[in-house]
Subunit: 421 residues, 2 copies
């Protein structure tokens, strides 16, 4: 198989389909999404059978249990995929929306129209639900998409892709608007990220290693986030009850997510009163606390206490581990965050208005919060309806990326024969 030629043909078909998708009306896009949702429910047995093939192969090749778990398509997962599509149906169509239309002194009227990006390449690990979520978001936002899922999910993805194509065709839209890469050859990824003539943007979803590799080689812009080193800063003017609730929730609600707190900063004046109470909460989950000298002095006797090294401030644990640093006050906290944060999500706990407003303005992260758990940094929680991922880049899209992040704005001008003098 000539991978270069194979990917080029996929790219050409996607580019062609993207033109039809860009002008597709809302009713057709919603009809496609509804048809796909119905087909997923109807063919649940066949999907599970395809998934079974993937799971057997993965077990044989010794895939890690956590990966097997993500690969598994349960009844609940199938129902959730179908519901997810129906939620996207319910969202307003972003395409064609015209904003900021205003008359200029010359007589022309100038505004901006929301338009699709074109062709979106999505590279992800062996999670079949991403296939459907990503397809749904790209269809609604009028884009064509090329999906490259983890090779372990290939049978399941092929079965899902068939349902997606049928749904598109049933609504009079091009079946090629959603294509999956049917080869498990890794060279296909190398082609996908170096065809700017056919692919407008790459959304990589996966571990830091994958994304760093793609960043080095990609000739196509990416919407991505590398890691989530999120902070909570407990100010000395914090409400202690809020500080305890939020610090516990931000660490312990889920360990493996990118919006989980990894480092807790505590103002010196409040540390002796707040840290022991907080340690009692963390003890119930046996969270390892890695403190600086001052924090360790306060936490003496905590069963899972270790010393933080310089490296800890730059580490995303994704585990029941928390680094703790005592700071003089907010200025030092902001300095620490702007130095070590991955610019994902950082929160201050304070009742002081001026400090809250300064933290909001001066912390340079995709989500900045006051008195709320970092775990809220999420497309659904923010009301975007669905998300393709979270970006901690500054250009184009920052933070949770919903339908709008898959679109651009073009200028539109209504004239009446005006010429430039």
């Amino acid at each position: 198989m000539d991978i270069k030629q194979y990917m080029k043909e996929i790219g050409q078909r996607a580019r062609k389909a993207s033109r039809a998708m860009a002008k597709a009306d809302t009713a057709a896009k919603n009809q496609a999404l509804s048809l796909i949702a119905a087909a997923i429910r109807r063919d649940a047995d066949a999907l599970r059978a395809a998934n079974q093939k993937d799971l057997e192969a993965a077990r044989t090749s010794g895939l890690a249990p956590a990966m097997l778990d993500r690969l598994t398509l349960s009844d609940k997962a199938i129902a959730t995929m179908a519901e997810g599509l129906e939620q996207i149906v319910a969202l307003p169509d972003p395409i064609g929306e015209i904003s900021n239309m205003k008359y200029r002194p010359t007589g022309i009227q100038v505004g901006q129209m929301r338009v699709p990006l074109g062709v979106i390449g999505i590279i992800y690990e062996a999670r079949p639900n991403v296939t459907v979520d990503a397809a749904g978001l790209c269809i609604k936002s009028g884009n064509a998409t090329i999906l490259r899922g983890g090779s372990e999910a290939i049978h399941c993805n092929q079965a899902l892709a068939k349902l997606v194509s049928e749904g598109l065709a049933g609504a009079g839209l091009p079946a090629d608007a959603v294509q999956i890469v049917e080869t498990t050859d890794r060279a296909a990824v190398g082609e996908l990220i170096t065809m700017p003539e056919y692919v407008d943007v790459i959304v990589p979803r996966g571990g830091k290693g994958l994304i760093e590799r793609l960043m080095k080689e990609s000739k196509v812009p990416m919407i991505k986030h590398l890691d989530g080193i999120c902070h909570v800063y407990i100010d000395d003017k914090a409400d202690p009850a809020k500080a305890l609730d939020i610090s516990f929730n931000a660490k312990c609600h889920r360990y493996g997510t990118c919006n989980t707190m990894e480092t807790l900063l505590v103002a010196r004046a409040i540390a002796p009163s707040i840290l022991p109470a907080l340690a009692k909460l963390y003890a119930t989950r046996e969270v390892e606390l890695r403190g600086d000298d001052e924090a360790r002095a306060i936490l003496q006797g905590y069963a899972h206490l270790t010393a933080a090294s310089a490296e800890d401030w730059s580490t995303e644990y994704l585990d029941a581990i928390l680094s703790i640093r005592i700071v003089t006050g907010m200025d030092e906290a902001i300095d620490h965050i702007n130095t070590y944060s991955s610019q994902h999500t950082d929160s201050i706990i304070t009742e002081d208005y001026t400090r809250a407003m300064r933290f909001l303005r001066e912390v340079d992260s995709a989500s900045v919060m006051i008195n709320a758990s970092t775990r809220f940094a999420d497309g659904f929680e923010y009301g975007l309806g669905a998300e393709i991922g979270i970006s901690n880049d500054k250009l184009h899209a920052r933070g949770p990326v919903g339908l709008d992040g898959l679109t651009s704005l073009k200028y539109v001008v209504f004239g009446h024969g005006e010429i430039r003098e």
Copy 2:
């Protein structure tokens, strides 16, 4: 001189200054801009003297007359620079603006705050006015900037940079917020575009050759446009008077600008009546018309008539040359535009409502116009107040880029102790 080390130090100073600029208040930024404008007027003689040095060196080295013209700092150019800064003072400060703030069912309030990008690297040719325009836009948008102007303007740029730094310091802002690269060594550009740790975005302003080279080598995202192959399509339902005015203006108002029409598409049904009248207008400027077979048959006898080759549809003439193609109707026109346009600016001339709306939606360009001259595609004409350039990329900024294009949006969350259940 160790260029790598030199550029690294510039980058580090810029990164540091960007933090101060991000939190600078509107009054300080406006004060800096006003001080710079006043200093430019005050030191006009010294600026002309510095410019004289550049001009002498440039004449000695045989710079082309058009380049010499752009390099020259006339009294008018000096006044325009100062006025440009004062116009930026008058624009609203984009930074800190919070939009879309809404309560979520969990109790948190979520919105977006406009924030600077950080450090912006600008690479441009020997045009001293760009130094001041770019510095002004970056200051107002709360960014730090590193300016690399054409080496022919080095004395003038150094003199301007000194005034800019003084103005910043006078307003209590870091003088390093605007730095110019003081070496004319080309290796400095190579460093600037490969320091993503210090530079957040590159704005290249210059010819297609420069930008293509930068695109290949850059490790930093760019806001750029390569070329402007702009179209006017005269529909058979066009008002002939508007068609004549706009087609003449779009080509002949200025030949060398990126929003000048390069290809005229004419519906077959209207071509015999409109083209001869149009040719009379173009004849007054001796515009060379490169027609397809049908157009040439209609234009027989025109003094500057030649045959269009396939290559013409992809050529930006920047000259008194126009390619003309006869099309069956709007579908063929849109196909042609979406194939050959550089996605800069394209305009339809029609009185037909449905066609106008379809053209607006289906043409995939940064500016799409109805019954207006392509020459309007410009930050000032669109009411942006000033522009750093025009982007024909789709990501981040598309079309004329003003202050907003030099900013990003971060999510802000106002909580009251909420945790995620």
